[in-house]
Amino acid sequence: MLWSSSNPTDRILKHLAEIGAGQCTITDDIVVAEPDPEMRQVLLGLLVLYEDLSYASRQRDQSDAKLREVAEERTRLLEDRNRAIEARDQFLAVAAHELRTPIATLTLLVDHLITTLSRSAENAPTDTALEELTLLKRQVHRLTALVVQMLDVSLITAGGLKLVPSRVDLRAVVRDVVHRFDLELQQRRVTVVLDAPQPVSGTWDEGRVDQIVTNLLSNALKYGAGRPIEISVRTRGSQAVVVVHDHGVGIPADEQERIFGPFTRATTARYHAGLGLGLWIAQQIARASGGRILVESRPEKGSTFTVELPL
C-alpha cells in the first residue's frame, strides 16, 4: 500500500460519511495537492460521486416541486369539477321543481278537455280536433316523463333513493309494462316475446322496478331496429332475473360501461331523443335494491340487458 496518510481508510470513511450527510470537504485544490496518486484517484472519485449525488438530489427536488404543482393543479381541477357538478344538480333540482307546476296545470287541462269533449254529445269534436288533443296529451306525458327523470337525478344526487319495498310479483310487473307499450308496439309493428313461466315474488319497490323494466323496454324499442324483442323473467339461484333482448343497433364494446353513466349515451344512440339519464337511473335503482343491471351487446347484432334483483 502506498497511502501517504497514516490511516487512509479512516479518511475515506470520513469523506463517505460527509457525502452521506449531503456535504463534502474535498475540493479540487485538495485533490491536486494530494501527494499519493492512488489516494488522489480515490479523492477524485469521491468528489465526482458527491457531485453526481447532489445533482441527482437537485433533480429530485425539482421533480418533487413539479409533482406538487401537478397535484395542486389536479386538486384545483377536481374542485372545479365538483363545483360544476353541484351547480348542474342544483339547476336540475330547481328546474325540475319549477317545471312541475305548469306541467300539472297542462296535464289537468288536457285531461279535462279530452274527457269533456269525448263525453259531450252536442259539442262533439271533429276527429281532427280529438286527434290533436290526443297528440297534445302525449306531448304533456313526454314532458312529464322528462321532468320526472330530472327529479330522480336530483333525488339520487341529493342523498340516494329511498325505496318503499313490498311483496311484488316481478312477472306481473313485466306484463303490466309490456301491456302499457301495446299501442306503441302495434304502431311500430314490433312484437315482444315474453318468456315468464312462473310468478317471481320478491320484496322490492314496485314503482321503481316498473321504472327499470319500462326503461329497458323503451330502449329496446328505440334501438331495436323494429325487430322482435325478447323478455324473460326467471329465478336464478338467489336472484330474480329479467332479461331484455333486442336485435337492433347494439352498443360498441368500449362504450358499454359508459352507458350507465349520467348524461351519457352510446354513439349509436346519438340521433335518438332523450336526456341520456334513463339507464343511469335504472342502474341506481337496481343497486339501491341490492341488485344490478348488466349489458352484453354487439354492434348491429343487438343488446341484452340483464337485471338481477335479490330474492
Binding site: 321543481h97 307546476t101 296545470t105 289537468l108 285531461d111 279535462h112 341529493a158 342523498g159
Partner: protein
C-alpha cells in the same frame, strides 16, 4: 255525477293558473270551490266559519307556507279535523314534506283521474 256533499272544496295554491284550472275543472264536476291564493286568507275564511269537506293545499307559497298553514290549522280544534290533501311540486323525500303529519300527498304533476278519485272519496266521507 252528483256531488255527495254540499260543503265546499277549499283550494289553496299561490300559482294563479293552476288555481284557476283546478277551480274551473272542479266546478264542472259539481263542486263548490273556495279558492285562495294565500294561506292566510284561507285560514281567515276557515276561522270565520267556512267548513270545507276537504282542503287541497300547496306547500311552497310566498307569505304563509303550507306547513305554517297546517300547523295553524292543527292548533285550532275547530279546524283540525278538516282533511288536507297536499298538492306539491316539492321533492317529497328531501324537502321536508314527510314532516307533515296525517295528510295525503299528491306530487305534481298528477292525472286528473287520480285527483278526482281522491276528492270524490273525501266528498263521500263528508256526505
Amino acid at each position: 255525477m252528483t256531488v255527495p256533499t254540499r260543503r265546499p272544496l277549499m283550494i289553496i295554491d299561490d300559482d294563479d293558473d293552476l288555481r284557476k284550472a283546478l277551480t274551473l275543472i272542479m266546478s264542472t264536476y259539481g263542486y263548490e270551490v273556495a279558492a285562495f291564493g294565500d294561506a292566510r286568507g284561507a285560514l281567515g275564511a276557515l276561522e270565520s266559519g267556512s267548513a270545507p269537506f276537504l282542503i287541497l293545499l300547496d306547500l311552497m307559497m310566498a307569505g304563509m307556507s303550507g306547513w305554517e298553514f297546517r300547523a295553524a290549522q292543527l292548533r285550532n280544534p275547530k279546524l283540525s279535523g278538516i282533511p288536507v290533501v297536499v298538492l306539491t311540486a316539492a321533492n317529497t323525500l328531501t324537502d321536508g314534506v314527510h314532516t307533515l303529519s296525517d295528510v295525503e300527498i299528491i306530487p305534481k304533476p298528477f292525472a286528473l283521474d287520480s285527483l278526482l278519485a281522491v276528492v270524490e272519496r273525501h266528498a263521500r266521507a263528508a256526505g
